[in-house]
């Protein structure tokens, strides 16, 4: 796997604020990379530099092998962008917006029309394509903008909070589209506030705070690195001796709450194996078993609250 985005020492200063402070990271081909951070962390500023919309102050960015500073046009030709604020032409219809995109990306007319039909259909806008975008709802605009970003079949897609403020239906539609695209090997760079979304969707996430990257890894690895002790909730269909449970391999402690046991595990994998063996030996079947790993929310709050990266 090669790197589709290579960022080295990327920096942006606005007056006295260093919005992005010497960040470096790579995005691999075919992955969904989540870029997380609290408000004002520098996500949008980073995305705009990566997409060549605003110039960087120092550092370098290579996207799809092209230096974005010196050679932006060939890179832009191969990626699509869904920016933070909706920006279709509101005085044009959805169809006219898509035709304009086709021309700006040099896609021939027949293919533009075919793609537009398909995209509008998939994104549930087919009946509204001759309506001016001014009359669109927020969710419809956002879906149109995704269609506009995808018209030229980009290999890489940047999205800056694509689902913020959208209802469940529009959100689902957009997320399932992203998953389908990723199945077809489109690399996706996504900024979001929504931890559940990042957790479900992303292969790896980078967390930025105050313009600096504080962590980059797979969501599950970040979670396990954040909290050494996992919690497991288990219930059995019969009585079992309390003392024995706490002394099993991988289990640090066990406490009974109602009909369940709350287990703290220093090694969740070993703990679950032990529990299964234990239930067999005592003839008490496991009714439910849940691992209560720290959520990405916990990781995020911990990393973005800590002093200094």
């Amino acid at each position: 796997m090669s790197d589709v985005i290579e960022v080295r020492g990327l920096t942006k200063v606005f007056g006295t604020i260093t919005a992005v402070d010497h960040i470096s990271f790579d995005v691999r081909e075919g992955e969904i990379f989540g870029f997380l951070g609290p408000n004002g962390a520098g996500k949008t500023t980073t995305t705009r530099m990566l997409t060549g919309v605003i110039p960087m102050d120092s550092g370098s960015v290579r996207v799809l092998g092209h230096d974005v500073r010196t050679d932006p046009v060939p890179a832009k030709q191969r990626f699509g962008v869904v920016p933070e604020t909706s920006n279709a032409y509101v005085d044009l219809t959805a169809w006219q917006n898509l035709m304009l995109m086709g021309e700006l990306y040099g896609v021939d007319r027949a293919r533009t029309e075919r793609r537009s039909h398909d995209l509008l259909e998939t994104l549930g806008l087919a009946g509204r394509s001759d309506q001016k975008v001014r009359e669109y709802s927020k969710g419809m605009k956002q879906r149109l903008i995704l269609a506009m970003a995808l018209l030229h079949e980009p290999e890489l897609l940047f999205l800056d909070e694509p689902t913020s403020g959208l209802d469940v239906q529009s959100t689902r539609m957009i997320l399932s589209m992203l998953r389908a695209l990723n199945m077809d090997r489109t690399t996706i760079f996504l900024t979001t506030h929504n931890m559940a979304e990042a957790n479900r969707l992303c292969d790896r996430v980078g967390i930025i705070r105050g313009g600096r990257i504080v962590a980059i890894d797979a969501p599950e690895k970040l979670k396990s690195a954040t909290d050494r002790l996992h919690r497991i909730e288990v219930s059995f269909d019969g009585e079992i001796p309390a003392g024995d449970l706490a002394s099993l391999d991988g289990i640090a402690g066990a406490e009974r709450t109602g009909d369940k046991w709350q287990i703290t595990a220093d090694n969740p994998d070993q703990a679950i194996r032990s529990l299964v063996g234990f239930s067999g030996r005592h003839g008490a079947a496991i009714l439910t078993l849940q691992t209560l790993a720290p959520s990405l929310d916990d990781v995020f709050l911990k990393l973005t609250r800590e002093k200094g990266p």
């Binding site: 046009v73 832009k76 909706s86 032409y89 021309e103 700006l104």
Partner: protein
């Protein structure tokens, strides 16, 4: 301009021009303003009881029509699109800033030429003889480019408030009309007036229009054309360079 893929960038500039025409020019008020302003200006002139020959008045009117229409909308497009954030969309597309500037210019050229046919038709309808049609057609095209480039150049100051830009460009446009031999023939201007007139591209265009209809001219026709071409080139290059520098500010 980035010469690599220049034909392709040219095609994309045309897409931008079509978008501009559709969104900013083909609007009722803009069209009405564009067509009626020259007509009313003409009536004000004509009925003003000034003792000036019709050919002189109509040449001035044609000059003003082309000048005002080519610079009417173009200064506001960058601020409008900056405000609406559609400029960010264009910046993320594989088009160079030069192509965006050129696209805005082309739209303005087409609008300017389209509206300027009205006073020209009036002139012909009033029985004015068209002595040098080819020269006139070429001059209209060249001047339309020149004034459109000036219009886009006027959009350079980094503000996303269109009315600020419009105010600023009016401050520059109206004085130009008075020093370009439209109200007073160049040969009647005082020395200081002439010294100003040579700095206005409109002077040269009006001189050619006058030549086309009456055969008389103040500067040699080739000098007029050369001056218009030089202004067009300088304005275009300046607009491209300065917009490239200022565009990040608009994002």
């Amino acid at each position: 301009m980035n010469m690599r893929g220049a034909p392709e960038q040219l095609r994309r500039a045309w897409a931008i021009a079509k978008k501009d025409i559709r969104i900013y020019y083909l609007k009722g008020p803009v069209l009405i303003f564009g067509v009626f302003m020259p007509v009313f200006l003409f009536l004000a002139f004509y009925l003003g009881g000034r003792e000036l020959p019709l050919a002189f008045l109509l040449s001035g009117l044609t000059g003003m029509a082309l000048f005002f229409t080519s610079t009417a909308v173009s200064p506001a497009i960058f601020p409008w699109e900056g405000q609406a954030r559609t400029l960010e969309r264009l910046a993320a597309c594989p088009v160079t800033i030069e192509a965006i500037v050129l696209g805005d210019m082309i739209a303005s050229v087409l609008f300017g030429i389209g509206v300027t046919t009205v006073p020209l038709l009036i002139a012909l309808a009033l029985g004015l003889p068209l002595l040098h049609g080819v020269v006139l057609a070429f001059a209209v095209l060249l001047a339309a480019f020149c004034f459109s480039a000036l219009g886009v150049l006027l959009a350079v100051p980094p503000t996303n408030v269109p009315s600020n830009i419009m105010m600023l460009s009016s401050l520059l446009k109206f004085p130009l009309v008075f020093i370009s031999g439209i109200f007073v023939p160049l040969e009647q201007l005082p020395a200081w007036g002439m010294a100003l007139a040579v700095f206005s591209p409109l002077t040269y265009f009006v001189d050619i229009v006058r030549y086309s209809f009456t055969g008389t001219h103040y500067f040699p026709v080739l000098a007029d054309i050369g001056a218009l071409a030089a202004f067009a080139l300088v304005f275009t290059v300046a607009a491209m360079v300065l917009h490239r520098r200022n565009i990040p500010w608009r994002m």
